[in-house]
Symmetry: C2
Subunit: 452 residues, 2 copies
């Protein structure tokens, strides 16, 4: 059974609610929106990602005979529900911000309009796919801003939370501007460039380090990067210098060396010096080892002569912010706007659009969240991507998404480009939206309307 | 293509190293060990998990014709390597701590002994599977200790890092002692009990809350838990009281109510009062909403009358510690012990065993890490689980793993039972191991041996 596409990869309550909706004929059209409620203090902006895998999920969501037989065997569900699952096809409409779009709190990233049971069923996986990829694209974008001219490579698969996470981290971070990944399956699936050096074990297998370098070089002469921190980094750099002429004579050029531990500022400087003195001025220095964007910024600011970074655990787990306060919330059912008012978790009702304005310098100047159709200035960010369960725009290449992220990052206000956001980006809740919220609250007989 | 079982779900460098090993006939037996180097300050102990899915991976690891054709098309690999992949079967031996075992820093959790290229190839997925599940089992165990007599349910799928993570979190947290999960696929795959209530959207769809409760009750009368925080929690509790007699007359008993926001101490007390006054003393109160183990401990200590908790994001992302400092390290190759000495990342060489001693009260009293075969007191924790690529012990049920975790937790010293560990658990590096490390260092011509 494939986990990623199983319709049972959902919360039990989705099926319980579907059963109840079917029992009571509550199958009118509903609109749900996926959004991040408020940004964590560590993030000045987010980058939307994960749409294309989500559309694949929606297009192919099916309950197999086995799935239905198993659901029947649990004794929890009635025939009307099981019959409905047998022919289930997602036939809703989807509007979304394209992948690579910069997004802020309270802004819907995706909107699903479908018969209520369908729109409800997909909730869990909608959040699961969009949250994680947007989380990682956002983390990766900070790394790109922190080390703009360095080669950045995702090394995160091993400590990512499971296989799908590792794979999706490669995808999301590539969209956000990383050069590539170590994860081979990401190259196979999406053509993301892969990078690979060697592990400490390769060095340790050999009785001496120089032999290890030479052995590896003779088998893997392309993009040859030697790992030099297994025992004594500077000594290893001198071995690299000593080996270079012999390799050169065999037509093998050393491309780079990699540091994975120790004081990277001091070591990169001394290694650079050793390499330069040894005539290896073109050999690059690549560093890794638990680095996050603050480390990258610090290393860049220190003048450490590091040409590229492998970023692993901090990237693939978004270690400082491993989750966002996101939700997939009902906005309209049967033509009537809805909202919840739970303390600290209220949402704005209605079918929304996000309008983005730009200043004369082309930079982002402010967003307005309003109702779809409201006459707001600015570029509407949510676009139709699926109608009646079918994609209405061609599948975007990752290159397109990546270019969009780069364009978006270039238009980010200076106040948001640093690792500590200087001022929150202005996101206005338009009057049309506040009025609708008041109206919903009056209808529900709730107390004075409160801003979410 | 199924992600979870793809042999390409690995780092490019594993294949690069395999190519080099094959080229040079470096196919002698290697032993690698998976361990967490040192525990984070927030964890006094860890719980090993993930072994059974890893053994499945090792048993079924195959390169399909498609995989090999694609690898060939990259132009990176030679025929000797591609031919080797076509017939690849993992044929190594595996020793491991059984799932549910409590483990500390520097203690190998798993050991793989196999021809070097095989043992190297599997590194990425070994770490990926064991790290995440042990991370989550460890987090879940803290929750169990913090709220020992409450019903604890995993609600983490939506914000877990991808689908596999959500599923594995359900599994690992059940091993550690949670009562179950909301993730339906975990019930299908492993028989883990599932729990489900209702979402706010279900309430909002209906024009009034009481109608929503009644509609849901009539379709889902079993284990009926009503979500009462959508608008006004106390008012909703009074609606529950008002509805109960009518439902009772139809044979429907309200099992519980759920709070998902607000001041859970105050609200649980007032809701308890309302329910008790209304004759619903047996209706339980279930709480959720971004809770971690510190929240659980605080709520329990406050006397909040909460019978159970849904734990989601904090559990499935292990939010305070989203990754452990773990590694899969070469210990022996071709009969010779190996170690790396990278700053801050040195490991102890040799094929190791962990010996656990217990005090007269049956509690864990101290561990010794030594060489396999060393005459140490205590219970050896690493057991043979696979030989020549085949399981040598029957697949354990989750019930067995769960019982082991419960037994282990019961034997934890008091100093480690609180959320703030009072003193580190004593893990001794036995003289046999230090001697071997010295010997390896002398052989490598390294400076004075340093403790890892």
């Amino acid at each position: 059974m494939e986990i990623a596409t199983s319709p049972l990869l959902t919360d039990l309550y989705q099926l319980n609610m579907m059963q109840a909706y079917l029992d009571h004929g509550e199958v009118e059209t509903a609109t749900f929106e996926f959004l991040v409620r408020s940004l964590p203090a560590e993030r000045g902006f987010l980058v939307a990602a994960g749409l294309d895998p989500l559309l694949d999920y929606l297009e192919t969501l099916r309950f197999s005979e086995d799935d239905i037989a198993w659901l029947a065997s649990t004794g929890r569900f009635k025939t009307n529900f099981l019959d409905c699952l047998a022919t289930f096809r997602f036939c809703g409409d989807v509007h979304a911000m394209p992948e690579g779009t910069i997004v802020f709190g309270h802004e819907p990233i995706l909107r699903i309009t479908a018969p209520l049971p369908q729109a409800q069923l997909v909730e869990t996986r909608v959040i699961n796919l969009l949250h994680y990829q947007s989380l990682i694209a956002s983390k990766a974008a900070r790394m790109v801003l922190a080390a703009p001219d360095r080669l950045l490579v995702d090394f995160g698969l091993r400590r990512a939370h499971g296989g799908e996470a590792g794979l999706m981290a490669a995808r999301a971070s590539y969209i956000a501007g990383l050069a590539g990944t170590a994860t081979l399956l990401a190259e196979r699936l999406w053509g993301i460039p892969t990078y690979g050096t060697m592990a400490h074990s390769f060095i340790e297998v050999h009785d001496d380090e120089a032999t290890a370098f030479e052995t590896f070089a003779s088998s893997r002469p392309e993009h040859l990067t030697l790992l030099i921190d297994t025992y004594d980094t500077e000594a290893a750099a001198r071995k690299v210098v000593a080996l270079a002429p012999g390799l050169e004579a065999r037509g093998i050029r050393i491309s780079g060396v990699r540091l994975d531990s120790g004081d990277l500022v001091a070591l990169s400087k001394s290694v650079r010096h050793i390499l330069d003195e040894g005539g290896l001025g073109e050999v690059t220095i690549f560093a890794s080892g638990g680095l996050d964007e603050r480390d990258l910024a610090r290393l860049v600011a220190s003048g450490a002569p590091i040409d590229g970074f492998g970023v692993g655990t901090c990237l693939a787990t978004s270690s400082d912010v491993p989750a966002l306060d996101c939700a997939y919330k009902l906005q309209v059912y049967a033509g009537v706007a809805r909202r919840k008012k739970s303390t600290g978790k209220a949402t704005w009702p209605g079918v929304k659009q996000v309008f983005r304005r730009y200043g004369p310098d082309g930079r982002m100047a402010g967003d307005a969240v309003s109702l779809e159709g409201d006459a707001q200035q600015g570029e509407p960010l949510l676009q139709p991507v699926m109608r009646a369960g079918q994609r209405v725009v061609p599948r975007e290449t990752l290159a397109t998404c990546r270019q969009r992220a780069a364009d978006n990052l270039a238009r980010l206000p200076d106040s948001l480009r640093g690792l500590e956001p200087k001022a929150p980006y202005p996101v206005e809740i338009a009057p049309a939206l506040s009025s609708l919220a008041d109206e919903v609250d009056r209808r529900l007989g709730l107390k004075a309307p409160a801003a979410p």
